[in-house]
Point group: none
Chain length 202, copies 4
């Protein structure tokens, strides 16, 4: 089997998994339901993931990797600290918008599954919120206030994403809502708004 075939099937399985997880919840999703939707046998699932848990972990990681990559890309071309912060949030919005099904499942189901998932997600959240917090501290905020703000921002962005996805809003609407949150966040912390010429919708 070509490498590509393997990736295609893994992709199909992940998409099927995301689809079922989203409507049925993690516990309500059986491996059989995933494989049936993906159009393969149950045993095949285990050629791609060591367990159901690992499949969900792979979903989390996939989203995380994309966010990390996009954030790095966007920050590289930003000059000032506020611009970096602005760009980081924008990067998250871009990925969440492009992978909204993935993001929805990770944000909604992830935290509730169990301790190991909580831990993995917390590590990710921690990574990102520390990045934000550092930018805020560099912008002159008290460290505790910064940490608090970073967390609040994460929560706000996640909630707004889920809200829009649940409402079946088109990608543009989703992004615009995220951008609105970013703008208010900057205002709330007295930071200068940034014009990066990227706003997709006006």
């Amino acid at each position: 089997m070509r490498q590509g075939e393997r990736e295609d099937r893994e992709q199909a399985l992940i998409e099927a998994a995301v689809s079922v997880f989203r409507t049925q919840g993690y516990a309500g999703t059986s491996v059989r339901a995933i494989t049936e939707l993906a159009g393969c046998g149950t045993g095949t699932f285990y050629l791609y993931f060591p367990s159901k848990d690992d499949c969900f972990m792979a979903i989390i990681d996939r989203l995380y990797q994309r966010v990390v990559a996009q954030v790095a890309t966007r920050r590289a071309t930003a000059g000032t600290t506020p611009a970096k912060l602005w760009a980081s949030i924008g990067a998250v919005l871009e990925v969440f918008s492009a992978e909204h099904a993935l993001a929805h499942v990770v944000l909604v189901q992830g935290p509730g599954i169990g301790p190991s998932f909580r831990e993995r997600l917390d590590r990710i959240r921690q990574t990102f919120s520390e990045l934000i917090a550092e930018d805020l501290v560099e912008s002159g905020l008290d460290p505790w206030v910064a940490a608090c703000g970073a967390r609040a921002l994460l929560g706000a962005l996640g909630e707004v994403l889920v809200w829009q996805v649940d409402a079946d809003a088109p990608g543009g609407r989703l992004t615009r809502a995220g951008e609105e949150v970013r703008r208010r966040f900057f205002m709330g912390y007295g930071l200068p708004p940034v014009d990066d010429g990227r706003e997709m919708m006006t």
Copy 2:
């Protein structure tokens, strides 16, 4: 059996349930684990809740009722619209702080369990976010911006609560973090800060 005895045991079961749900997740929690922690037989559980699902629903409802009651109380003594908004958020903080274990479980596990729970939680979130949004609209904001802000606020408050509870922060710290979010929220939306003389920690 005295009325009080029944309530005591129901309370013990809910507390045990919250404790196990929080560490093991909803699906990872067996009824037996709850009753063992509560110190009664498995069958006893079913004298108080028709099913495991209903037990979780009872947890959700209990939190919701307290929030609704507290919000009503605090709004009653507030004058201007911004003061009502300020008071509403404060009411949520008070309840979440007092019932942080309950709130943590509802916020973290609730959304992921399954469609029926999502629905119930969404109804509650909808109720509260509409209240906030109305205050924002009355304060002169565009309806869509207001709706967006209300959702963002819910997400931010929830995330900050969970963050603090996970960090085993004392109740005072938790409240202070929430108040910080409220303050930044007001600034973000250009609303005048309110001094209600209620800040518990300084």
Copy 3:
């Protein structure tokens, strides 16, 4: 408590038990369902019967005792052997007709519950079928043919009773059907019909 009160309540419990057993089956009947119908607490049930099994046994025994008593009464006034046989069957019909609910439950549910019930019922059936068989032998039939006939008669009477009760037939119809079976039975075995002046319906 007067003796009569105790018997009244036992009667009420048995009637309730028969009613629920009949519609729900033995296993489908909970003690609580019986006591609710009888209008007393669950614990009270155990003041009258040592167990659910024993309650059913009591129902069986009650029917059996009435049949035995009635058969003895009717046989006492019969002269010839065929007349005794005729009278015995008539006695059964009288009791089954008067206690059709009891009989229905015993005949339909009894055999399927479990080994101990089967055994008890078999003993009863054995008792009665031997009586019939002896009459047949005395009337000149081969013992094996007689045994066979006695069993067949029991089955035929039971089936006809259940059929009529299920059809909600009035008691008279039920008796007439039984008498028809008795008449054909006598013809089948070449016995002279008996006129005991007892046919209730014509």
Copy 4:
């Protein structure tokens, strides 16, 4: 998996089920007990039957289908109405004799399990008793007498079968007892005996 393998295992499960049902009763039989006797895991049971109830229903249906088929076969070669009646009863005897374990369980346990089983069995009984009754009416009997006789015959045959099976009588003895019932039935209703040259035992 070959088609034959699947049928073999289903057959093994049905045989195990019949064996346990017969000794323990329906409610007293656990699925685990069946699978242990059949030599497979508990989950395997549910690959063959959707539920314990459906397994019993399958047993009922299997017996019913065989009776229907055999009756049709035997009636096809019978000339006169009495001969058809004679042949129908003979067909039932043949099947009950060949499948006496199945028949025993259906006759003894079936009626007591619950309303849905009663209903299914009644439909079957109704089917067969109407067939018999029609033959009797064609032979000149009053419809009500015929219906009564058909029911009585069913009861008599069932009782005699169960009696012989409980006594561990060999198949030949069982058949002979049934034939004796048939002969007496014909005499009881004044029908001419039929010699179909099929009597297996003399």
